[in-house]
Symmetry: C2
Subunit: 327 residues, 2 copies
């Protein structure tokens, strides 16, 4: 973990105090070197990067614990979708100030997740900013040579499936913004703050999926990307998109939240994947054995048009905004 | 290169227009996937991360071309110090707005350097921020298994050496801040804005150095870190620290700039290394063949005290601030 700072500086003390305990991998050298080593090994290294900015990707008053977990988990979610086993990560932290309470809670939660997901901290950089707190994580995973599960690869006739439930995170954000503080909605807020990366699915995806990605920007937009990269389209039955009981309750209680919002809102960090019909059964069985529900929601079709989402009456749904974009 | 954005979003268009042309490596998948692949290969993968924040690491009005080059080069400098051959990098860019002129100049310069240093863009993330422009690059290099050149490894009796000249960058920043606009000082400003990573030294360091790091936070502080990690101290003759003609001229003309400032200022991105006396001659010969001057500035000694910098009269120099720290 490099920083601009000397042996006795506040910055090096910060790194030593909060982050060195997390850097247990031999290749991290206890964060005392300028670089880390990922040892030569069988397999390709999969690399993914996700940045989180206060006020954009999380609420400025989100607790440090949930923020730490989310920052790592959104990257673990990408690795899982690619069929990769986590190998480690580096962290860039741009902070306004070195607040002891905040840093200590942040590092403790980050360390717990790094241990739980067997993805050790390898290095990083800690810098000052006058702007919003910004975190950037680059995570590494391993796959057998040439086997990373791509976005490209979906073929006409493939089943389109998603893991878990869709829309909980955006419903949770809605709860936070509207202050609808019923205990029934607590799981939605929890899902917004701390996603559940489907690392248990990596092996099954590697064996059976033709294409996969994680749902981060909204199901509608992310499926459009997967289809565009694969050179296909899809027909999705929107009513089959799995929704949690809590999200269904909120949908029923609050007309300002729509089903369209759930499937375009993003922050789900569920797996969107495609597989041939026979392979899909194997994939679903393995997923179930790993404790994850996979739900078929439609089919890949030939064509280059954006995927169609069809409602219960067979009508095409129209979305004001397919997914989130920064610019 | 993932972004929160859909197929037709401004963000994906931004990535496609400016950054896809840089992603020529097969493992980058033209930035159309969620992750990149660094293929399995002989050797360990060396990983380094450096972030740059506007107003902290560069001036807010620095040109986009120099900023792009600096962001990549500070990471290439770390790889060189570790004896690693560049293999690729990922970029996180937190932007206030997607300005076409700025992005196009930034991406062109980044692409030129990526090609010149054979270090292709593999992926990244582009996000919005309300704060200062923030760039984070994680770069990858390869070394033979177990051979990364460490900070630890310096032994009593080793020669301490630096590449090139020290203090040009901080002198250049001084020129920018004081407006001392003599043409003679232009090389100093150029060195502040665009460092020259010593990638040509990587092989020689791998073969002969006992320890190495790049000088980013100031020679005094960085040597203190190297010594602390190696469990040794050092005696440096400050007069032997090489200074460029332009920096010497500025020192003579402006009493507000001191020699102490040059060796504590940082942003040099030269190599600080140690080697046994015989190995040092081989190292210096190979460096010269690669077009880089290595200068012996002192010796590693036993002990745990901070390194001593001794002036021309044999007196210990005392520094108000050994190097830069963010906190």
């Amino acid at each position: 973990m490099s920083g601009r700072g000397t042996g006795g500086s506040g910055e090096d003390e910060l790194i030593a105090r909060y982050f060195r305990p997390l850097a247990r991998s031999p290749g991290a050298f206890g964060l005392t070197d300028d670089a880390a080593v990922l040892p030569a090994g069988a397999g390709d290294l999969v690399v993914t990067t996700d940045a989180l900015v206060a006020g954009v990707h999380f609420l400025p008053d989100d607790p440090p614990e949930t923020l730490a977990r989310k920052a790592l988990r959104v990257n673990l979610s990408d690795l899982a979708a690619k069929g990769a086993v986590p190998a480690g990560f580096v962290l860039t932290l741009a902070l306004r100030e070195a607040d002891d309470t905040w840093l200590s809670a942040f590092a403790r939660a980050l360390g717990e997740d790094a241990a739980a997901f067997a993805c050790p901290l390898m290095g990083g950089d800690t810098v000052h900013t006058d702007g919003p707190l910004t975190l950037s994580i680059t995570a590494f995973g391993r796959v057998p040579p040439g086997r990373m599960v791509r976005r490209a690869g979906a073929r006409a006739g493939d089943i389109v499936a998603v893991s878990g439930t869709i829309g909980d995170a955006v419903a949770g954000l809605h709860v936070l913004k509207t202050g609808a503080a019923a205990p029934a909605y607590a799981p939605l807020v929890a899902r917004y703050r701390v996603p559940e990366p489907r690392v248990a699915l990596a092996g099954a995806l590697l064996d059976h999926a033709t294409a996969a990605m994680d749902v981060s920007d909204g199901l509608v937009g992310d499926l459009a990307k997967l289809c565009a990269t694969s050179g296909v389209t899809a027909r999705i039955e929107a009513a089959r998109v799995p929704v949690s009981p809590a999200a269904a309750a909120l949908l029923a209680a609050d007309p300002s939240l729509t089903r369209a919002a759930l499937i375009t809102g993003g922050d789900d960090y569920e797996i969107l994947c495609t597989a041939g019909p026979a392979a899909f059964e194997s994939l679903r069985t393995k997923a179930r054995a790993a404790g994850v529900t996979l739900t078929a929601i439609g089919r890949i079709e030939e064509g280059m048009a954006p995927p169609r989402f069809v409602d219960g009456e067979g009508r095409d749904m129209v979305f004001a905004r397919a997914s989130y974009s920064h610019f």
